[in-house]
């Protein structure tokens, strides 16, 4: 039993207890469970959003890309800022609609706006399909971090198993409130870890990041401009990826759903203003990746750069702190992913598809039961196929972005029709799947998801315009 191990387990257990406590005095119904009774203020919304958006993948991936790809990793710094700018204009309107019609989830929105249950069910299924590999990625990341941080004292299977039983427990009892409360611990620990390592590591090895960059430019002059260490991630790829991820960001079902938990539209708007500050720690993560490239150049797996460098530089108790931060950083997004995947299945697939007269209690009970099912399924996936879902993840990410025209046109354009939105969605997703499965990503230098989104938007707009207005109240465009 070493110090690192104690820190990791104390943190995981304390976080889960806090998460369970969060829902203690609240009577759990669907409204409280999924959107926290629409009562969250600016601070808790900020923590919740930051909690679910900045995942283990952001940190291991951003440093790993800096290590193995160089400049293309800069997109991870930027796309959030674009997404928040967009959200400033989009989300307050969405919140008002959500409040007015009592919406809980993304498919609820589609069902209400387009008056079509099949469309809602399709959106729900695409959402769940995209969430599963994302969830599995969090589990795998958690296992990796804890295994390295505890110096192989805990195998990754055990780490995954224990933390997910606990995550499951606080989602089951507290719903989104649990996620919001645990986010507090997660954000503090993670930012502390990133600041210590991101400022410390370049200073220890090079006396500062200026000198580190100078050394890197001498050794690999083209690494810090696009396309960096890759052959296909040039300027066009980064531009298209930025547009895709910036626009698609809030189309993730769990991020979309959390919007409804705010107390007012104004809170959502002010949250959009302060969110970009949260991007700055990512810069420090890049520093770690670049320093690792110079100090330990021959790693097989770039995603291990962060952990390997910390392991080599800091005492083992600090490694325990990083491991604990990493573990809660996986647990928080996972909890909300599980929450929304189960609500989508219960409310928008089961109720909308098979049993429209199901009572709210039934849906709530089923959602809670599905939390257990989905967690188990993700555990099995994480243990059985840890590395085989990368393509699914990309398809999932590009897939949820295809909701964009349906959401935006639905809010701001009266003439958007269900036929158009569904056609666009099907065409967009087909393009994405064909390009990725056919090995044509990037396509003409552009991100395949972006190509899908462009085709999707054209199809949607064309069909909206093609359908001639029949009644007089449809004249305005």
């Amino acid at each position: 039993m070493n110090a690192a191990l104690i820190i990791i387990f104390a943190t995981i257990i304390f976080s889960s207890l806090l998460g369970i406590y969060a829902g203690r005095r609240v009577k759990m119904n669907l409204e409280n469970w999924t959107v926290g009774g629409r009562r969250f203020g600016i601070i808790i919304i900020w923590l919740l959003m930051a909690g679910e958006i900045y995942t283990t993948f952001t940190f291991l991936g951003a440093s790993g890309w800096a290590y193995s790809k160089g400049a293309p990793t800069f997109y991870i710094l930027v796309y959030g800022a674009l997404a928040y700018t967009l959200s400033f204009f989009l989300l307050p309107a969405l919140w008002k609609v959500g409040k007015r019609y009592g919406l809980h989830t993304q498919p609820d929105y589609f069902i209400k706006r387009y008056d079509s249950r099949p469309l809602g069910i399709l959106v729900a299924l695409i959402g769940v399909f995209s969430i599963m590999p994302y969830l599995q990625l969090q589990l795998t990341g958690l296992g990796l971090i804890v295994e390295v941080a505890s110096n192989q004292a805990v195998s990754s299977q055990w780490a995954i198993g224990i933390s997910f039983v606990l995550t499951c427990a606080f989602v089951y009892t507290s719903g989104i409130r649990g996620t919001a409360w645990v986010s507090i611990i997660k954000d503090i620990m993670m930012i502390a870890a990133v600041f210590v390592v991101g400022i410390g590591v370049p200073a220890i090895y090079f006396g500062g990041f200026g000198n580190m960059f100078r050394t890197l430019i001498e050794q690999k002059p083209h690494y810090l401009v696009l396309p960096g260490g890759t052959s296909h991630m040039g300027v066009l790829w980064v531009m298209s990826t930025l547009l895709l991820t910036g626009l698609g960001f809030y189309m993730w079902p769990h991020v979309f759903g959390s919007v409804f938990s705010a107390k007012s539209a104004n809170i959502i708007k002010r949250n959009a203003i302060i969110m970009p500050f949260y991007q700055i720690p990512i810069l420090l993560v890049f520093m770690v990746g670049f320093t690792a490239l110079l100090v330990i150049p021959a790693l097989e797996n770039g995603d291990m750069a962060f952990l390997e460098l910390v392991n080599r530089t800091y005492p083992s108790w600090f490694m325990g702190f990083v491991g604990a931060a990493g573990a809660v950083t996986a647990m928080v997004p996972s909890s909300i992913l599980v929450l929304f995947a189960s609500t989508l299945l219960a409310k928008n697939v089961y109720k909308a598809g098979f049993n429209p007269r199901a009572s709210e209690e039934t849906v709530m009970r089923l959602s809670r039961f599905l939390v257990l099912v989905i967690t188990t399924l993700a555990l099995v996936m994480a243990v059985r196929f840890p590395n085989e879902l990368v393509n699914l993840l990309i398809i999932g990410y590009d897939g949820v972005c295809q909701f964009f025209p349906g959401v935006v046109l639905g809010l701001f354009w009266k003439r958007a029709t269900k036929t158009a939105v569904l056609s666009g969605l099907i065409v967009g997703i087909s393009v994405v799947v064909l390009l990725i499965v056919g090995g044509r990503d990037p396509f003409l230098g552009m991100n395949a998801g972006f190509v899908g989104l462009v085709v999707n938007s054209i199809v949607t707009l064309a069909i909206c315009l093609y359908a001639k207005p029949k009644s007089p109240d449809r004249q305005e465009a």
């Binding site: 930027v78 800022a81 209400k112 430019i217 569904l422």
Partner: protein
Amino acid sequence: MSLSFRISIIQWFALIENFLGQDEERQTYSVYFDIMASLKEVGMQKGTRIALILGAIPFIMMVFVLPLVNRIEPIILGLPFLLFWLLAWVVMTPFILMAAYVLEKKFNAPEEGEEE
């Protein structure tokens, strides 16, 4: 634009409509959110227009200008130029949005039911 192309479009429509179900006398468009409709009647206000123009700045500076800033020199504050440029605009974004928020409030008619 041959006849067969048109026919295939019509078939596609039939397929989708069939899938979605055409119960009752549903119109081509469905429920347009009535609160959004009432906003539309006012038209776009001056404050919103200013905010939208400001909101375009991050997209222009961080996406569309990218081909021009893809370079290492000059090194500023120890950062290669590309990274410095992107970081600078990420840091500027909250201030731009803050300005958009203030100006929107100033030039738009006050919204009812909006609390502080």
